[in-house]
Protein backbone atom coordinates (compact mmCIF):
# COMPACT_ATOMS: atom_id res chain seq x y z
CA UNK A 1 0.00 0.00 0.00
CA UNK A 2 1.53 3.29 -0.95
CA UNK A 3 1.31 6.71 0.64
CA UNK A 4 -1.51 7.88 -1.62
CA UNK A 5 -3.84 5.14 -0.43
CA UNK A 6 -3.30 6.06 3.20
CA UNK A 7 -3.87 9.71 2.37
CA UNK A 8 -7.14 8.88 0.61
CA UNK A 9 -8.40 6.93 3.60
CA UNK A 10 -7.42 9.56 6.15
CA UNK A 11 -8.74 12.50 4.15
CA UNK A 12 -12.08 10.96 3.16
CA UNK A 13 -12.83 9.63 6.64
CA UNK A 14 -11.83 12.94 8.23
CA UNK A 15 -14.06 14.73 5.75
CA UNK A 16 -16.93 12.40 6.55
CA UNK A 17 -16.41 12.89 10.27
CA UNK A 18 -16.29 16.67 9.83
CA UNK A 19 -19.39 16.66 7.65
CA UNK A 20 -21.34 14.54 10.14
CA UNK A 21 -20.11 16.72 12.99
CA UNK A 22 -21.34 19.84 11.24
CA UNK A 23 -24.68 18.20 10.44
CA UNK A 24 -25.11 17.20 14.08
CA UNK A 25 -24.10 20.67 15.23
CA UNK A 26 -26.71 22.26 12.99
CA UNK A 27 -29.29 19.67 14.02
CA UNK A 28 -28.64 20.42 17.69
CA UNK A 29 -29.44 24.08 16.98
CA UNK A 30 -32.48 23.34 14.79
CA UNK A 31 -33.96 20.71 17.08
CA UNK A 32 -33.05 22.42 20.35
CA UNK A 33 -35.88 21.85 22.80
CA UNK A 34 -36.45 24.83 25.05
CA UNK A 35 -36.77 23.76 28.64
CA UNK A 36 -37.67 25.95 31.55
CA UNK A 37 -34.51 26.37 33.71
CA UNK A 38 -36.71 26.13 36.79
CA UNK A 39 -37.40 22.44 36.02
CA UNK A 40 -33.69 21.71 36.37
CA UNK A 41 -33.44 23.80 39.57
CA UNK A 42 -36.39 22.05 41.19
CA UNK A 43 -35.06 18.62 40.18
CA UNK A 44 -31.79 19.54 41.87
CA UNK A 45 -33.61 20.47 45.07
CA UNK A 46 -35.65 17.24 45.21
CA UNK A 47 -34.33 14.14 47.03
CA UNK A 48 -33.84 12.26 43.75
CA UNK A 49 -35.18 8.94 45.03
CA UNK A 50 -37.72 8.71 42.16
CA UNK A 51 -40.08 6.98 44.58
CA UNK A 52 -43.29 8.11 42.90
CA UNK A 53 -44.84 9.15 46.20
CA UNK A 54 -45.98 12.45 44.69
CA UNK A 55 -48.00 10.63 42.04
CA UNK A 56 -45.56 11.34 39.22
CA UNK A 57 -43.17 8.86 37.61
CA UNK A 58 -40.03 10.46 39.03
CA UNK A 59 -38.53 13.60 40.52
CA UNK A 60 -38.00 15.20 37.08
CA UNK A 61 -41.63 14.62 36.15
CA UNK A 62 -42.76 16.15 39.44
CA UNK A 63 -40.54 19.20 38.82
CA UNK A 64 -42.09 19.54 35.37
CA UNK A 65 -45.58 19.37 36.89
CA UNK A 66 -44.72 22.00 39.50
CA UNK A 67 -43.52 24.41 36.81
CA UNK A 68 -46.65 23.77 34.76
CA UNK A 69 -48.70 24.47 37.87
CA UNK A 70 -50.19 20.98 37.95
CA UNK A 71 -48.55 19.94 41.21
CA UNK A 72 -48.30 21.86 44.50
CA UNK A 73 -44.86 22.99 45.69
CA UNK A 74 -45.24 20.88 48.84
CA UNK A 75 -46.06 17.72 46.86
CA UNK A 76 -42.83 15.94 47.78
CA UNK A 77 -43.57 14.02 51.00
CA UNK A 78 -40.06 12.57 51.20
CA UNK A 79 -38.29 15.93 51.18
CA UNK A 80 -40.59 17.42 53.80
CA UNK A 81 -40.68 21.07 54.81
CA UNK A 82 -37.10 21.85 53.77
CA UNK A 83 -37.52 20.73 50.15
CA UNK A 84 -40.97 22.32 49.96
CA UNK A 85 -39.40 25.65 50.98
CA UNK A 86 -36.68 25.32 48.32
CA UNK A 87 -39.18 24.42 45.60
CA UNK A 88 -41.42 27.32 46.58
CA UNK A 89 -38.38 29.63 46.47
CA UNK A 90 -37.55 28.54 42.91
CA UNK A 91 -41.16 29.15 41.90
CA UNK A 92 -41.20 32.51 43.73
CA UNK A 93 -44.11 31.47 45.93
CA UNK A 94 -44.77 31.42 49.64
CA UNK A 95 -43.76 28.03 51.11
CA UNK A 96 -46.77 25.84 51.88
CA UNK A 97 -47.11 23.94 55.13
CA UNK A 98 -46.03 20.28 55.03
CA UNK A 99 -47.69 17.79 57.35
CA UNK A 100 -45.27 14.86 57.75
CA UNK A 101 -46.84 11.50 57.11
CA UNK A 102 -45.86 7.94 57.86
CA UNK A 103 -47.05 4.54 56.73
CA UNK A 104 -48.60 2.15 59.26
CA UNK A 105 -49.26 -1.55 58.70
CA UNK A 106 -52.62 -2.12 60.32
CA UNK A 107 -52.17 -5.78 61.22
CA UNK A 108 -50.29 -7.82 63.82
CA UNK A 109 -51.04 -11.28 62.48
CA UNK A 110 -47.80 -12.98 63.47
CA UNK A 111 -47.48 -16.74 64.03
CA UNK A 112 -48.76 -16.50 67.62
CA UNK A 113 -51.81 -14.38 66.90
CA UNK A 114 -53.30 -15.91 63.75
CA UNK A 115 -53.51 -19.53 62.65
CA UNK A 116 -52.52 -20.69 59.19
CA UNK A 117 -55.15 -21.91 56.76
CA UNK A 118 -52.71 -23.78 54.52
CA UNK A 119 -48.99 -24.08 53.90
CA UNK A 120 -47.94 -21.96 50.96
CA UNK A 121 -45.00 -23.04 48.84
CA UNK A 122 -44.77 -20.85 45.81
CA UNK A 123 -43.78 -17.61 44.21
CA UNK A 124 -42.69 -15.06 46.84
CA UNK A 125 -45.39 -12.49 46.24
CA UNK A 126 -48.24 -11.06 48.28
CA UNK A 127 -50.27 -10.66 45.09
CA UNK A 128 -49.89 -14.37 44.31
CA UNK A 129 -50.71 -15.64 47.80
CA UNK A 130 -53.63 -13.25 48.29
CA UNK A 131 -55.27 -14.64 45.15
CA UNK A 132 -55.30 -18.12 46.73
CA UNK A 133 -58.29 -18.09 49.05
CA UNK A 134 -57.35 -14.62 50.37
CA UNK A 135 -53.95 -15.64 51.71
CA UNK A 136 -52.63 -18.42 53.89
CA UNK A 137 -53.72 -16.83 57.19
CA UNK A 138 -57.19 -17.49 58.52
CA UNK A 139 -58.10 -13.81 58.71
CA UNK A 140 -58.99 -12.53 55.22
CA UNK A 141 -57.66 -9.06 56.15
CA UNK A 142 -54.30 -10.32 57.43
CA UNK A 143 -50.90 -9.24 56.17
CA UNK A 144 -49.62 -11.83 53.68
CA UNK A 145 -46.06 -11.38 54.90
CA UNK A 146 -44.48 -12.07 51.52
CA UNK A 147 -42.87 -8.64 51.38
CA UNK A 148 -44.30 -6.85 48.33
CA UNK A 149 -44.08 -3.70 50.46
CA UNK A 150 -40.46 -4.44 51.43
CA UNK A 151 -39.50 -4.66 47.76
CA UNK A 152 -41.45 -1.47 47.00
CA UNK A 153 -39.73 0.56 49.74
CA UNK A 154 -36.79 2.61 48.50
CA UNK A 155 -35.74 3.69 52.00
CA UNK A 156 -35.34 0.33 53.78
CA UNK A 157 -38.08 1.44 56.15
CA UNK A 158 -40.37 -1.60 56.15
CA UNK A 159 -39.48 -5.18 57.06
CA UNK A 160 -41.20 -8.50 57.59
CA UNK A 161 -40.93 -9.39 61.28
CA UNK A 162 -42.35 -12.77 62.30
CA UNK A 163 -44.62 -12.93 59.24
CA UNK A 164 -45.95 -9.36 59.43
CA UNK A 165 -44.74 -6.16 57.79
CA UNK A 166 -43.56 -3.54 60.30
CA UNK A 167 -42.71 0.06 59.45
CA UNK A 168 -39.53 1.56 60.87
CA UNK A 169 -40.82 4.98 61.92
CA UNK A 170 -37.38 6.59 61.93
CA UNK A 171 -36.75 5.72 58.28
CA UNK A 172 -40.26 6.09 56.82
CA UNK A 173 -40.59 9.13 54.59
CA UNK A 174 -44.31 8.80 53.91
CA UNK A 175 -43.95 8.28 50.15
CA UNK A 176 -46.66 5.62 50.17
CA UNK A 177 -44.93 3.14 47.86
CA UNK A 178 -45.67 0.29 50.30
CA UNK A 179 -49.34 1.24 50.55
CA UNK A 180 -49.67 1.08 46.77
CA UNK A 181 -47.89 -2.28 46.63
CA UNK A 182 -50.06 -3.96 49.29
CA UNK A 183 -52.76 -6.14 47.67
CA UNK A 184 -54.69 -6.23 50.98
CA UNK A 185 -54.75 -2.44 51.38
CA UNK A 186 -53.82 -2.73 55.06
CA UNK A 187 -51.00 -0.17 54.92
CA UNK A 188 -52.30 3.35 55.48
CA UNK A 189 -50.61 6.70 55.13
CA UNK A 190 -51.45 9.24 57.81
CA UNK A 191 -50.18 12.21 59.82
CA UNK A 192 -47.05 11.35 61.79
CA UNK A 193 -48.12 13.50 64.75
CA UNK A 194 -50.40 10.79 66.15
CA UNK A 195 -48.46 7.98 67.81
CA UNK A 196 -51.37 5.58 68.33
CA UNK A 197 -53.02 3.23 65.90
CA UNK A 198 -55.53 0.38 65.84
CA UNK A 199 -53.35 -2.37 64.40
CA UNK A 200 -56.17 -4.27 62.74
CA UNK A 201 -57.91 -3.92 59.39
CA UNK A 202 -60.66 -6.50 59.85
CA UNK A 203 -64.17 -5.35 59.04
CA UNK A 204 -65.53 -8.75 60.13
CA UNK A 205 -68.01 -9.03 62.98
CA UNK A 206 -66.71 -9.53 66.52
CA UNK A 207 -67.21 -13.30 66.62
CA UNK A 208 -65.57 -13.79 63.24
CA UNK A 209 -62.50 -11.84 64.33
CA UNK A 210 -62.35 -13.63 67.70
CA UNK A 211 -62.32 -17.01 65.94
CA UNK A 212 -59.29 -16.31 63.77
CA UNK A 213 -57.14 -13.76 65.61
CA UNK A 214 -56.02 -13.19 69.21
CA UNK A 215 -55.43 -9.45 68.76
CA UNK A 216 -58.03 -8.35 66.22
CA UNK A 217 -60.43 -5.45 66.83
CA UNK A 218 -63.87 -6.86 67.69
CA UNK A 219 -65.51 -3.42 67.60
CA UNK A 220 -66.51 -3.50 71.28
CA UNK A 221 -66.36 0.28 71.39
CA UNK A 222 -64.66 0.66 74.80
CA UNK A 223 -61.90 2.84 73.32
CA UNK A 224 -64.50 5.04 71.64
CA UNK A 225 -66.23 5.65 74.98
CA UNK A 226 -63.05 6.23 77.00
CA UNK A 227 -61.13 8.48 74.57
CA UNK A 228 -61.00 11.97 76.15
CA UNK A 229 -60.44 13.67 72.80
CA UNK A 230 -63.21 11.78 70.98
CA UNK A 231 -60.60 10.80 68.39
CA UNK A 232 -61.91 7.24 68.00
CA UNK A 233 -64.98 6.05 66.19
CA UNK A 234 -66.36 2.73 64.98
CA UNK A 235 -66.38 2.53 61.19
CA UNK A 236 -67.75 -0.65 59.65
CA UNK A 237 -66.90 -2.90 62.65
CA UNK A 238 -63.46 -1.40 63.16
CA UNK A 239 -62.22 1.19 65.66
CA UNK A 240 -60.59 4.04 63.76
CA UNK A 241 -58.43 6.87 65.09
CA UNK A 242 -58.71 10.36 63.68
CA UNK A 243 -55.02 11.44 63.82
CA UNK A 244 -55.93 15.12 63.86
CA UNK A 245 -57.94 14.78 67.10
CA UNK A 246 -55.53 12.36 68.81
CA UNK A 247 -53.74 13.90 71.81
CA UNK A 248 -51.44 10.89 72.37
CA UNK A 249 -52.76 10.28 75.91
CA UNK A 250 -52.62 6.49 75.54
CA UNK A 251 -56.02 5.76 77.13
CA UNK A 252 -57.09 3.61 74.17
CA UNK A 253 -54.02 1.37 74.55
CA UNK A 254 -54.82 0.77 78.23
CA UNK A 255 -58.53 0.04 77.82
CA UNK A 256 -58.44 -2.21 74.74
CA UNK A 257 -59.26 -5.74 75.96
CA UNK A 258 -57.86 -7.29 72.77
CA UNK A 259 -54.54 -5.37 72.73
CA UNK A 260 -55.37 -4.21 69.23
CA UNK A 261 -54.49 -0.55 69.86
CA UNK A 262 -50.80 0.21 70.20
CA UNK A 263 -48.45 3.06 70.68
CA UNK A 264 -46.19 2.94 67.61
CA UNK A 265 -42.59 2.05 68.60
Amino acid sequence: MDFENILHAVVSLTAMGLLFGIILGIAAKVFAVETDPRIEQITQALPGANCGGCGYAGCANFADAVVRGAAPTNGCMVGGAQVAAQVAAVMGQEPLEVIPQIAVVKCQSNCDNVKQKYVYEGYDSCKAISSLSEGSKQCPYACCGMGDCVRACLFDAIHIVDGVAVVDKSKCTGCGACARACPKNIIILREASCDHEVLCSSHGRGTEVRDVCKVGCVACGICVKKCPGKALSLVDNLATIDPQKCINCGTCVEVCPRHAVHRLP
Binding site: N5, H8, A9, S12, L13, M16, G17, F20, I23, L24, A27, A28, V30, F31, A32, V33, Y123, A128
Partner: protein, 194 residues
Protein backbone atom coordinates in the same frame (compact mmCIF):
# COMPACT_ATOMS: atom_id res chain seq x y z
CA UNK B 1 -41.75 -6.61 -6.63
CA UNK B 2 -41.57 -10.35 -5.99
CA UNK B 3 -37.82 -9.91 -5.65
CA UNK B 4 -38.37 -7.50 -2.71
CA UNK B 5 -40.90 -9.85 -1.16
CA UNK B 6 -38.38 -12.68 -1.29
CA UNK B 7 -35.74 -10.46 0.34
CA UNK B 8 -38.21 -9.65 3.09
CA UNK B 9 -39.20 -13.26 3.81
CA UNK B 10 -35.55 -14.26 3.74
CA UNK B 11 -34.51 -11.52 6.17
CA UNK B 12 -37.38 -11.97 8.63
CA UNK B 13 -37.64 -15.75 8.84
CA UNK B 14 -34.95 -17.76 7.07
CA UNK B 15 -31.91 -15.67 7.95
CA UNK B 16 -33.32 -14.09 11.07
CA UNK B 17 -30.50 -11.96 12.43
CA UNK B 18 -30.72 -12.94 16.05
CA UNK B 19 -31.94 -16.50 15.98
CA UNK B 20 -30.22 -17.88 12.89
CA UNK B 21 -27.20 -15.67 12.29
CA UNK B 22 -26.65 -14.75 15.96
CA UNK B 23 -26.06 -11.08 15.29
CA UNK B 24 -27.38 -8.54 17.80
CA UNK B 25 -27.64 -10.96 20.71
CA UNK B 26 -26.75 -8.43 23.38
CA UNK B 27 -29.94 -6.34 23.26
CA UNK B 28 -31.83 -9.56 22.53
CA UNK B 29 -30.80 -10.95 25.91
CA UNK B 30 -30.52 -7.64 27.73
CA UNK B 31 -33.83 -5.95 26.95
CA UNK B 32 -36.16 -8.94 26.74
CA UNK B 33 -37.30 -9.26 30.34
CA UNK B 34 -40.56 -7.43 29.66
CA UNK B 35 -42.62 -7.37 26.48
CA UNK B 36 -43.20 -3.63 26.80
CA UNK B 37 -39.50 -2.75 26.65
CA UNK B 38 -38.90 -5.40 23.98
CA UNK B 39 -41.47 -3.74 21.73
CA UNK B 40 -39.82 -0.35 22.37
CA UNK B 41 -36.41 -1.72 21.44
CA UNK B 42 -37.82 -3.47 18.37
CA UNK B 43 -39.45 -0.27 17.11
CA UNK B 44 -36.28 1.77 17.69
CA UNK B 45 -34.19 -0.80 15.79
CA UNK B 46 -36.62 -0.93 12.85
CA UNK B 47 -36.50 2.84 12.66
CA UNK B 48 -32.71 3.20 12.64
CA UNK B 49 -31.91 0.10 10.60
CA UNK B 50 -34.17 1.22 7.75
CA UNK B 51 -32.53 4.64 7.63
CA UNK B 52 -28.99 3.39 8.16
CA UNK B 53 -29.10 0.79 5.40
CA UNK B 54 -30.18 3.48 2.94
CA UNK B 55 -27.49 5.96 4.00
CA UNK B 56 -24.68 3.40 4.24
CA UNK B 57 -25.57 2.22 0.75
CA UNK B 58 -25.06 5.77 -0.52
CA UNK B 59 -21.84 6.23 1.48
CA UNK B 60 -20.48 2.97 0.11
CA UNK B 61 -21.34 3.70 -3.49
CA UNK B 62 -20.40 7.38 -3.71
CA UNK B 63 -17.48 7.60 -1.27
CA UNK B 64 -15.91 4.24 -0.49
CA UNK B 65 -16.08 2.70 -3.98
CA UNK B 66 -15.04 5.96 -5.63
CA UNK B 67 -11.83 6.19 -3.63
CA UNK B 68 -11.23 2.40 -3.49
CA UNK B 69 -11.65 2.42 0.27
CA UNK B 70 -13.81 -0.70 0.60
CA UNK B 71 -11.55 -1.99 3.36
CA UNK B 72 -12.63 0.97 5.54
CA UNK B 73 -16.28 -0.08 5.35
CA UNK B 74 -16.71 -1.06 9.02
CA UNK B 75 -15.22 2.17 10.35
CA UNK B 76 -17.15 4.36 7.94
CA UNK B 77 -20.44 2.57 8.60
CA UNK B 78 -20.04 2.83 12.37
CA UNK B 79 -19.48 6.55 11.89
CA UNK B 80 -22.68 6.81 9.86
CA UNK B 81 -24.72 4.78 12.34
CA UNK B 82 -23.49 6.72 15.38
CA UNK B 83 -24.27 10.02 13.68
CA UNK B 84 -27.65 8.79 12.55
CA UNK B 85 -28.67 7.60 16.00
CA UNK B 86 -27.65 10.94 17.49
CA UNK B 87 -29.53 12.81 14.78
CA UNK B 88 -32.66 10.69 15.16
CA UNK B 89 -32.55 11.18 18.91
CA UNK B 90 -32.43 14.96 18.59
CA UNK B 91 -35.08 15.07 15.89
CA UNK B 92 -37.44 12.79 17.82
CA UNK B 93 -37.03 14.82 20.99
CA UNK B 94 -38.20 17.90 19.12
CA UNK B 95 -40.80 16.49 16.74
CA UNK B 96 -42.28 13.50 18.60
CA UNK B 97 -41.58 13.82 22.36
CA UNK B 98 -44.06 11.04 23.11
CA UNK B 99 -42.22 8.50 20.95
CA UNK B 100 -38.90 9.82 22.30
CA UNK B 101 -39.86 9.14 25.90
CA UNK B 102 -41.36 5.76 24.93
CA UNK B 103 -38.09 4.61 23.32
CA UNK B 104 -36.10 6.16 26.16
CA UNK B 105 -32.70 4.60 26.78
CA UNK B 106 -33.02 2.14 23.89
CA UNK B 107 -32.44 4.75 21.22
CA UNK B 108 -28.79 5.55 22.12
CA UNK B 109 -28.19 1.86 22.85
CA UNK B 110 -28.77 1.05 19.18
CA UNK B 111 -25.40 2.55 18.27
CA UNK B 112 -23.79 -0.52 19.76
CA UNK B 113 -26.27 -2.99 18.28
CA UNK B 114 -24.25 -5.07 15.84
CA UNK B 115 -27.39 -6.05 13.92
CA UNK B 116 -27.51 -2.50 12.54
CA UNK B 117 -23.91 -2.71 11.32
CA UNK B 118 -24.51 -6.26 10.13
CA UNK B 119 -27.44 -5.21 7.95
CA UNK B 120 -25.42 -2.36 6.44
CA UNK B 121 -22.48 -4.65 5.62
CA UNK B 122 -24.75 -7.41 4.34
CA UNK B 123 -26.55 -5.02 1.99
CA UNK B 124 -23.21 -4.19 0.38
CA UNK B 125 -21.81 -7.71 0.11
CA UNK B 126 -25.06 -8.95 -1.42
CA UNK B 127 -24.82 -6.24 -4.13
CA UNK B 128 -28.30 -4.87 -3.52
CA UNK B 129 -29.46 -1.68 -5.19
CA UNK B 130 -30.79 1.21 -3.09
CA UNK B 131 -34.40 0.01 -2.79
CA UNK B 132 -33.32 -3.55 -2.08
CA UNK B 133 -30.90 -2.36 0.60
CA UNK B 134 -33.56 -0.35 2.38
CA UNK B 135 -36.09 -3.20 2.22
CA UNK B 136 -33.44 -5.63 3.42
CA UNK B 137 -32.48 -3.36 6.32
CA UNK B 138 -36.07 -2.81 7.36
CA UNK B 139 -37.10 -6.46 7.19
CA UNK B 140 -33.96 -7.64 8.97
CA UNK B 141 -34.95 -5.22 11.74
CA UNK B 142 -38.50 -6.57 11.68
CA UNK B 143 -36.96 -10.03 12.14
CA UNK B 144 -35.00 -8.70 15.11
CA UNK B 145 -38.15 -7.14 16.61
CA UNK B 146 -40.10 -10.37 16.05
CA UNK B 147 -37.43 -12.43 17.78
CA UNK B 148 -37.08 -10.11 20.78
CA UNK B 149 -40.84 -9.79 21.29
CA UNK B 150 -41.35 -13.57 21.06
CA UNK B 151 -38.48 -14.14 23.46
CA UNK B 152 -39.75 -11.56 25.97
CA UNK B 153 -43.08 -13.43 25.97
CA UNK B 154 -41.25 -16.66 26.81
CA UNK B 155 -39.30 -14.95 29.58
CA UNK B 156 -42.38 -13.31 31.09
CA UNK B 157 -44.23 -16.61 31.10
CA UNK B 158 -41.37 -18.51 32.72
CA UNK B 159 -40.39 -15.78 35.22
CA UNK B 160 -42.29 -17.41 38.08
CA UNK B 161 -41.51 -21.03 37.21
CA UNK B 162 -39.85 -23.37 39.64
CA UNK B 163 -36.49 -23.74 37.89
CA UNK B 164 -33.59 -25.76 39.38
CA UNK B 165 -31.33 -23.36 41.26
CA UNK B 166 -28.36 -23.90 38.94
CA UNK B 167 -30.37 -22.78 35.89
CA UNK B 168 -32.14 -19.78 37.40
CA UNK B 169 -31.76 -16.43 35.67
CA UNK B 170 -29.35 -16.10 32.79
CA UNK B 171 -28.65 -19.80 32.05
CA UNK B 172 -32.36 -20.37 31.65
CA UNK B 173 -32.63 -17.36 29.32
CA UNK B 174 -29.85 -18.79 27.14
CA UNK B 175 -31.50 -22.22 27.01
CA UNK B 176 -34.87 -20.77 26.04
CA UNK B 177 -33.17 -18.58 23.43
CA UNK B 178 -31.52 -21.66 21.92
CA UNK B 179 -34.86 -23.49 21.80
CA UNK B 180 -36.40 -20.50 20.02
CA UNK B 181 -33.47 -20.50 17.60
CA UNK B 182 -33.98 -24.22 16.95
CA UNK B 183 -37.60 -23.51 16.10
CA UNK B 184 -36.52 -20.86 13.63
CA UNK B 185 -34.13 -23.22 11.84
CA UNK B 186 -37.30 -24.92 10.65
CA UNK B 187 -37.74 -22.02 8.22
CA UNK B 188 -34.50 -22.94 6.45
CA UNK B 189 -36.62 -25.60 4.72
CA UNK B 190 -38.15 -22.78 2.67
CA UNK B 191 -35.81 -22.63 -0.28
CA UNK B 192 -36.22 -19.29 -1.98
CA UNK B 193 -34.90 -18.63 -5.50
CA UNK B 194 -32.53 -15.82 -4.50
Amino acid sequence: MSELFLIAINAVLIENYVLVRTIGCCPFLGVSKRTETAVGMGMAVIFTMTLSSGITWAVNKYILVQFELEYMRTVAFILVIATLVQFVEMALKKIMPALYSALGIYLPLITTNCAVLGAALDGVTKNYNFIESVVFGMTAAVGFALAIVLFSGVRERTAGNDIPAAFRGFPFALISASLLALAFTGFSGLSLPL
